[in-house]
Structures are given as C-alpha cells and as structure tokens.
C-alpha cells in the first residue's frame, strides 16, 4: 500500500515536471536588446494545427551592434546556401509551448557576414542556432499580431555575441493583402500570415524552483495526515485477523 502511494506521488511529481511549460495567452513581454538581427517583411509565420507546429521563415537582413560597432548586410553563405531564417517549434492547442527533447535547434539562421568591414567574410554557414524555451502571442484588435520567443542553447558562429545571455525574438505579423487566413487567437485551426521582426539579446531569466500548484500541496498534506491512519488500520488487521 505504501509503495503504491509512493509510486503515485512520484508519478504526479514527474507529471508536473513534464507538463507543457510557459503557458501564455499573452506576450511574454520580450523586446530584444543589441546586438540584433532584423528579418524582413517577405517572411511568413505558419501554423499547422494537426501537428501543432509553428514555423517562421524569413530572410535575415541586417546584423547590428554598437560595441563593437557592426552594421552590415547579411549575405548568402559562401557555399551559396541562401541566407535564411527558420524558427520551428511545437505547441498544444492552447498555444502552450511543448518543449522538445531533440538536440535539433528550433532556430537556424544561415548566411555570411563581414563583421570587421575588411570585405572578407568572417563567418559563414550557420550563424545562429537556438532552442525555444518560452512562447507568447497577442492577437491584436487591429489585425497586426505579435509573437515573442525566448531561446537558449545558443550555437553558431555568432553565438559569441550572445554569450551568457538568452536570445529573444519579436515577430510582427501585419494584416496583409497576401494572407486571408491569419491568426485569430486560436491554435485549433491552421493559419498563416506575414512575418517580420528582430532577434536579439535578452538577460537570462532568473531560475526559480519548479512551481507547485496549491492543490498539489493540499493533496500532499491530506496524504501525509492520512498515512498514520492507514498504518493503524493495517496494524490492527495484522494483530486481529478476521
């Protein structure tokens, strides 16, 4: 009996730990700091409801930093791979991020840059890669929607610009004549819209203990107070068999 309850307790604890994180019916409120990478209005954001996959595809345009001063156009990679940005991750039908255990990055930015202005390419190929850890969204009344993302596990040849920080991306999806089936606040149906935005630096979120719901504490408290009673009944059954 005690072992069964222990297993139940462990199962519940594990369930809380594995539950979808970062439920957000609103924006997280991230605004990327420098260094930033802009992506232009030819991009799009697409949601496939059957798999819960959100994809942002766009063309990166400018890398900008103040210290060191960098303001340059991102070019195709030297192996002729076209400059590109892909952010892809999974959500449930309420828009909660479902964390992936895969080592495949959720964000991949490809291109080449000359960061010191000597007309020689300094970095080419995968400039940035990262994993999405938080996702927020806002279905604006005027039709221009916003999405924000926090990302960690930063890789790629420009990762040094973001060391000891997270990445943030703010995606703007304007009401556009090219898209008729745009985000209306629901993750139950497919939608697609225009996308442009910015990727940049954000301080690492201070780590707090896994939040435990009040109902769990009530349940655990009740269980603890119930244990002595169980022991007593078991003891009496053993001593006074029918």
């Amino acid at each position: 009996m005690t072992l069964q309850r222990l297993i139940a307790l462990l199962t519940i604890t594990a369930g809380i730990g594995l539950a979808p994180n970062s439920a957000s019916a609103t924006l997280i409120g991230l605004s990327p700091f420098l260094p930033t990478i802009d992506f232009s209005g030819s991009g799009n954001i697409n949601y496939e409801a059957s798999r819960g996959i959100v994809s942002v595809t766009a063309v990166p345009s400018i890398l900008f930093s103040v210290d060191p001063f960098i303001s340059i156009e991102i070019q195709n990679a030297v192996d002729n791979a076209p400059k590109s940005l892909l952010i892809q991750f999974q959500v449930d039908n309420s828009g909660n991020l479902i964390s992936s255990s895969s080592s495949v990055p959720d964000l991949i930015l490809i291109g080449s840059v000359d960061t010191d202005g000597d007309n020689l390419v300094d970095h080419s190929g995968t400039l940035l890669s990262a994993k999405v850890t938080q996702f927020g969204f806002l279905d604006s009344a005027n039709g221009d929607d916003r999405f924000d993302l926090r990302l960690d596990s930063i890789g790629g040849s420009l990762a040094y610009l973001y060391s000891d920080h997270n990445l943030a991306s703010l995606v703007i999806s304007e009401i556009s004549s090219s898209y008729t089936n745009t985000f209306n606040g629901s993750f139950d149906v497919d939608w697609q819209g225009q996308a442009k935005g910015v990727i940049g630096l954000i301080p690492i979120e201070s780590v707090s203990p896994v939040p435990v719901t009040p109902s769990f504490w009530l349940w655990a408290g009740a269980l603890a107070s119930f244990f002595p009673g169980v022991k007593f009944v078991k003891h009496r059954s053993n001593n006074f068999p029918d």
């Binding site: 605004s31 700091f33 030819s42 345009s61 400018i62 703007i172 304007e174 910015v198």
Partner: protein
Amino acid sequence: MTGKKPLLTLTLALAISGNANATMLGVVQTYPDITLNQNYLIYDNNAIDNTTGLLKLISFGSTLNEGPDSGNSTLTQSYSGPGDSAPNLMFTIAIDRTNGNWVSSENPVANKVSIGFGNSVILNDPSNTPGFSWQGDINAFGWNTNGTFFDATWTMSSDNYVDMPASLAQFTDGVLTDAMAAYMGGIKISNSAGFGASNGFAAYQTDWVFGANANSLGIQALLAPFLTELSASACSPSTQTGCTNYIHSTVTSDLFVPVPVPAALWLWAGALALVAPFVKQIKGSTLARENMT
C-alpha cells in the same frame, strides 16, 4: 478600393470626427514593400511650431521585398558601416501635439518619405552595387492609444534603382511612380514599448526616442545628428515634461505601394522588364538592316 476616392473619404471622415480617440487608418500591407531595419522612432513635440511636432523614423538599413511567395527576391542596403556610423532619415510625419492628428504642413521637411540609396551605391559607377530609392509625400496618419501601432498613407513621387539583379528586373526607374499614380501607398510602424505612463494625447506633448537600447549612451551618440532639436535633459521618471524620454523598444516599420497592388499590372511590368532588352536588340538590328540598304 480602386483609387484615392474611398481612402480620401475615410481620411475626411476621420478629420471631421475630430479624432476624439486615437484611430488607426487600418492600412493593409501589400507588396512590393520596403522593410526598414534597425529603426529609431524620434518625436520632437515642437519641431515645426508651438502646436506641431515632427515624428521621424531613422534606420540603419532597408530591404526591398518583391513579395511573400517562395522564390520571390529581396535586396538589402545599409546606410552605415565602416567609417560611417550614422543612420538615415526614412520619413517624417507632422503631428498636432494637442491631439495626435496628422497636420498638413508647409514645412519642407515635414511629411516626406525619403528612402535613399545605401552607402555602397555609387551612381554612374561601373561596379555592380545594387540599390533602390523611394520618395514621396505623406498625407494621413493614425495611431492606437497606447502607442504600440501607427500607420500612414503616402503618395510616391519617384522611385529609382541602380544595378538591380536579374531577379528584381521589374524594378526600373519610375515604373511604380507612373503605374501607381492613382493610388496611395501605406506605412506601418510597430513600437513594442508603447507610450506607457504617458498614454494617449499627452505623449505628443513631450519629446521621445524609441528603439533598441535607446536609453544607452552608445546609441544616443549614433543618433546625435537627429537629437539636436530635442530637449537636452533626459526624463526621469518617464512622466516628467520638458525633457526627452529614451525608451528601449523594438521598432519595426515598412512602406508599400500601392493600396492595393493590381497584381496583373505588376506581372505585366515584370514581363515588360524582361522583354525590354530583346526589343532593344530587335530595334538595333532593324536599324542596322535599314542602314545597309
């Protein structure tokens, strides 16, 4: 909407209503489009006179977008780089500081779209450095109360291109200006921080700068040529008046012509651009034949 008339009616309706509340124009994004990169939104509340302020959008780069479809091309140009750290002025909007309404101003710098060529473009130079330039006049402005979205309409007065790649061959000098003379273009601005404490009309009665790290001295040094007319002291707290608010924010903006794009016309222009070299060739050989005879 097939011309200026419905938009003009909307603008008049907004003007007559007196804009008791902040109102977006409801501009819908179209293609071709220019996305402005690494932007700063600068507002000088008495730039023109005691009742009229000037909103400026400053950018470090711009990207011409052919369209959203797979295979469509983009071209990015930069306004700064080694030896030149200053951004460029992209457009200005005159605003009534008492109510946030657009103002038709005689001031020569007001209500202008002035997207210039990037730094790498050297006109009449044999080197292949592509670039683009759109110029025009802004004729209406809208905003939402919390200052997170703004929109505007504008009329193109010229469009010019240098060394455009084959994938963007339909962009030739004046092609959009001529074809879209009967239409208005749109401008959209997104400002993630919004007005915050100085929500609503009051926001137009003080100076402010929005953009990435706008509150840092490094950025203020780069923006210095555009800050000279603003109040010298920085606001602290942000609700102060008679000072400039420097607020970290993500500012995005794009401009597009016209509203809406007649797709068939754009395809026709693209086809024409492709055919033009052959027409020249045929004309050349006809002339040569005539000369021989």
